[in-house]
Symmetry: C2
Subunit: 367 residues, 2 copies
DNA sequence: CTGAAAGCGCTAACAT
DNA sequence: ATGTTAGCGCTTTCAG
């Protein structure tokens, strides 16, 4: 590998001059810069990032530590954030914790060891104290979940608003026995979503029936089981789903139970996937602005990093806070069968405006 | 940050003894090792990866350069490969090239600068010569596509076999006008898939009708358009899809055209997604063993790297070569309407064995 | 404007 | 078995 010393020998200047020329130092003659650059080009010089990192005590890496890069829209978010950090000459290291605190710690530790410039973290349910301590050492932002013990600002969806809206929609349709199956309350997202469900009920003056809510580990099969149980035991006329994996499981369960949606049961999913347009009558869902969130997170990140700029700096106006999901209406919700008998609601829960963000895609007629 | 020198001062030994103790050098007294480790633990020592990389001339990073981490099963593959490299104490850097040769080069260059230990690359359609030259500098494996100009071994699907099998299945059902819409022949996957289609035809003694094949940029809308065009102009009784994005586009087109599948048209998709079980009658598809491929790739990678082992070494029997996809039969294929009039085929294209890998999932009855 | 020199934290001879 | 020493390639004072 060519080094600045090699180039120095070739051009006939000192290695520090080469370094300055390459870094576009103002106090170097344009002529010298040109000669140095030509030599660098000619010999395929590539700066040694390790040496630089050692010297400046901060590397060109940004960590992306999440439970699972396959889940939710993590891949999309990784891409968006990578784009941001690439624009500042840095690179994104992805690490999957599998929601295991020890793996999370191991990755954070490795990233600290690699002198990562910053970290974006979707925290596990219960980060170890040691992890938290490490996180204090470098600029960190939380991504989809928020952990109170962590000072770092968080870029999250407004889960509560999303589920609240979904539940209110069902309420407005005349449903009174609305079920909720979602993830555990021990993570911020699970808690917020359940809170949204409860708020909608409360605002409609309805009491919560514990039999109608089920929180469960966010795995397909578990969710399918919980869904089935809740449906058969409590016989709701509608169900709100509180997570992407929950939604997947529910879709399976609906298929197995051969449920008529929305005839027998109205359904609102969580997250937005292409298949939801083709699924049965089309699955209404709480659509998450994942790319937007990631973009916001990414540009905030480059702001944090601007103090130590590299290559082609990108400017971005950062703003933390929660992004509101939108309710995407398709064919899976309708008034309940005996909707006419539903007592009127108190408050301003008018029926939803027609055509609101609705998109309906015809599906193939099965042969 | 605590350094080995700090620890040396604390324990009362030289910094090289500390280094040896930490690296479990055999010539260090267990007692000293224990004291050093205790001190390291107590002070939260984390080794500086940059310094180590600078010294040993090779870092703990592995690059993962692909067109788009959202597409295909790249996220799943990234996860599988990350797991492998993590097991050797290394970290995965993901980089999206967007299939743009310059971005690909930029990423490879950065990775070389970071002294990445190895690279897994899904090459763009036409890597720049400079990229190819750089790739010679570090252990590289190609992932899903294969570029002839690259010496590196490749882990790819047996695309030709997959499409061939799909086409043969349709042939066996009695179809004679079978269409193909796939990606460009300029990438290895596109070429292999088209070759599979052609081979099936040839083996059945059928001539190819150019009107029945269409290659197109692998984007949803473009694919939908090409699909529609081919269907309306050539009126095939079945169509084979040559890519995941093509399949997505075709699904859209089928919905728009309100096609009766498999009544009017039999269809075989490419790639396997959950929605395919719920789509119309269930979409038969060429299922790709993505995780297996990535696992093979990953364990081969650690083999390449074993010469420079780190932490908890993982053993793996590497083997390059093409992994065969499996045909996943669902409800989207059936004999053609006028199938009885189809001339018998020459050769051993018997009807498919009943129940072959078939999985049928009931779907919700639309309300 | 450019050169000389120091040093980032670590590893690996080469001494003891 | 442990200490001494010399760099890895780069940035960055400090001199000239």
């Amino acid at each position: 590998m060519t080094t600045i010393k090699d180039l120095a020998g070739i051009v006939g200047v000192s290695h520090s001059t080469v370094a300055r020329a390459l870094n576009d130092h103002p106090a170097i003659t344009p002529a010298v810069k040109a000669r140095v650059r030509a030599a660098a080009e000619a010999h395929g010089y590539i700066a040694n990032a390790a040496a630089r990192a050692l010297r400046v005590q901060s590397g060109a890496l940004v960590g992306f530590v999440v439970p699972d890069i396959e889940e939710n829209d993590m891949a999309a978010m990784a891409k968006a954030i990578a784009e941001c950090v690439n624009a500042t000459g840095r690179q994104l290291v992805v690490a999957c914790s599998g929601d295991a605190p020890e793996r999370e710690l191991a990755h954070v530790r490795a990233l600290v060891g690699a002198r990562a410039a910053a970290l974006v973290l979707m925290p596990s349910e219960n980060p170890l104290p040691e992890t938290l301590a490490l996180l204090g050492r470098l600029p960190t932002v939380q991504l989809v979940r928020r952990v109170a013990a962590l000072a770092a600002e968080a870029f999250v969806f407004d889960d509560e608003a999303g589920i609240q809206e979904a539940t209110a929609h069902l309420l407005a349709l005349g449903h009174r026995r609305i079920g909720y199956v979602g993830g555990s309350e021990t993570v911020s997202t699970g808690a917020a979503r359940l809170a949204g469900y409860r708020r909608a009920l409360r605002e409609a003056g309805l009491a919560e029936d514990p039999a109608l809510v089920s929180t469960v580990a966010p795995h397909g099969p578990a969710a399918a089981g919980a869904f089935r149980l809740l449906f058969e035991a409590a016989r709701p006329s509608a169900i709100v789903l509180g997570g992407p994996r929950i939604t997947l499981g529910a879709a399976e369960a609906v298929a197995e139970l051969r449920l008529n949606v929305p005839g027998e049961l109205s359904l609102v999913g969580f997250g937005d996937r292409a298949w939801m347009r083709w699924w049965g009558p089309g699955l209404s869902t709480v659509a998450l602005p994942a790319r937007e969130l990631a973009q916001a997170c990414g540009s905030h990140l480059v702001d944090l990093l601007r103090a130590v700029p590299r290559q082609g700096e990108a400017e971005g106006q950062a703003h933390a806070g929660a992004l509101a999901p939108g309710l995407m209406l398709r064919g899976s919700t309708a008034p309940p069968l005996r909707g006419a008998t539903a007592p009127p609601l108190r408050g301003a829960t008018a029926p939803p405006p027609a055509g609101q963000a609705a998109r309906k895609v015809p599906r193939p007629r099965p042969g």
